[in-house]
């Protein structure tokens, strides 16, 4: 087994039962299922949130809020088709960006917020996507990006900046920022497609 396979293998070994069963148990209000969900995604959610808000105490509050939100809304996920991890991370990211925006006095489109937190778009995703080898590949692909491309991706994902806000922040024309974003996304996509086809 190559080093590239070690991490996903370990995650699957220690990940416990499959996500479908986990969703069913969460729906049945099994507290142990929430503990397993936390063991599976807690660190990942915390890493995302603390990267965005840069404060461990605030990050922990937001992660707690994230899991509570999943617990309260899990009835709306389809256990046969839904994917918990990406949905949970979307909720965690929204909590972090809402916090950043409230601190900075920036507004956010509440319609879009509700959409990205609804589990239906996550139907049909690979159930353990975030524990798969693809996660490692995207991480590597992000690190391979030229600094300006990587920065716009991080500003968009972790800081929640619009392209106009990034242009103002980085002192670049909006068209340049759009080109950087498009190039960065295409580069990530190419790396993922190469990985999938190989």
């Amino acid at each position: 087994m190559g080093t590239g396979m070690i991490l996903p293998f370990l995650m699957s070994v220690f990940g416990g039962a499959g996500e479908r069963a986990l969703v069913e148990r969460l729906k049945q209000r099994d507290p142990q299922a929430l503990a397993e969900l936390y063991d599976r995604y807690g660190k990942m959610a915390y890493s995302l949130v603390v990267r965005a808000v840069r404060d461990s105490a605030i990050a922990e509050d937001l992660v707690q809020e994230t899991f509570l939100r999943v617990w309260n809304r899990v009835h709306s996920i389809d256990s046969e088709k839904g994917s918990l991890g990406p949905w949970l991370l979307a909720i965690a990211r929204n909590r972090a960006i809402d916090y950043l925006r409230s601190v900075a006095g920036r507004e956010r489109n509440t319609v879009e917020l509700n959409e990205s937190e609804h589990p239906s778009p996550y139907r049909g995703m690979e159930s353990e996507l975030l524990l798969s080898d693809q996660a490692r590949r995207v991480k590597q692909a992000m690190e391979k990006l030229a600094p300006n491309y990587r920065t716009v991706m991080e500003l968009a994902y972790f800081e929640g900046l619009s392209q106009s806000e990034m242009a103002a922040k980085m002192g670049q024309p909006l068209g340049t920022i759009k080109t950087w974003v498009r190039t960065a996304l295409q580069s990530l996509r190419d790396d993922l497609d190469v990985a999938v086809s190989s």
């Binding site: 070690i6 929430l34 990050a59 992660v63 996660a135 992000m142 800081e159 950087w180």
Partner: protein, 237 residues
């Protein structure tokens, strides 16, 4: 708007940075269960989630697990067996991460540089200065200067340097000689991001400049600066 026109915007939609009218159009397609857009957005959401999972690993406090469980009315005290398994799992994961890190070592420096750049960009005490805005053929961009974290330069439209030349950044003190602040190359598309970490005495610094120098760099500028970004006067200065 048909799906073909929207496909380039799925990733932007998933990142919440799509603009109108495409954002509204995608939303409408999803609401009417358009198979093409649903599949495209799902794929984009997968990529977005994977970007989220690429955040540098950070360890929450042990209290957080208990807080999460307590928030739904559960109190838990892990037994020694569970603790041992968790400790063993963590140790093995750390070893695995060491292997993975070693495997991708060529990119670690770039990753660290980006992290330094973002830390300067978002520090409250950072001041910024633009350059190139009024020129018809700019290098264009900004410099960010933080007294404790260093200087970040973001530039676009830089001309390619000849093979034996390189860009050199300078801190220009008031009434004193320029101080070298690191060498860098632009990318093929003319973009560049350069970080000079470390402390900066903002009060005594008048400007940040960039010249073209020989590959080894220079102790003092030997060419006319391509970029000069005068630092703004602030009350703190």
């Amino acid at each position: 708007m048909n799906c073909e026109l929207l496909r380039d915007h799925y990733d932007l939609y998933a990142l919440d940075i799509a603009e109108e009218p495409e954002r509204g159009e995608i939303r409408a397609h999803l609401q009417r269960d358009c198979e093409v857009c649903t599949a495209g957005v799902r794929r984009a959401l997968e990529t977005a989630a994977l970007i989220g999972a690429s955040a540098p690993a950070a360890e929450p406090s042990k209290k957080l697990r208990r807080r999460v469980l307590a928030s739904v009315g559960v109190e838990q005290r892990p037994g020694w067996g569970a603790l041992w398994i968790m400790a063993a799992a963590c140790s093995i994961l750390v070893l695995a991460l060491v292997f993975v890190l070693r495997e991708r070592s060529p990119y670690v420096q770039e990753a660290l540089r980006s992290r330094e750049a973002l830390s300067i960009l978002y520090a409250p005490s950072t001041i910024e200065a633009s350059f190139g805005g009024a020129q018809p053929r700019p290098p264009q961009g900004k410099v960010f200067v933080n007294p404790s974290r260093g200087v970040l330069l973001i530039a676009a439209n830089l001309p390619q340097t000849p093979g034996d030349k390189i860009y050199e950044m300078w801190l220009i003190p008031k009434g004193a000689k320029p101080v070298p602040a690191g060498l860098f190359q632009s990318q093929q598309d003319g973009n560049a991001m350069h970080v000079r970490p470390g402390t900066v005495d903002i009060a005594s610094t008048a400007a940040v400049a960039v010249t073209v120098e020989n590959q080894a760099g220079a102790d003092q500028p030997t060419s006319t600066p391509l970029i000069v970004a005068p630092l703004p006067m602030t009350l703190a200065r």
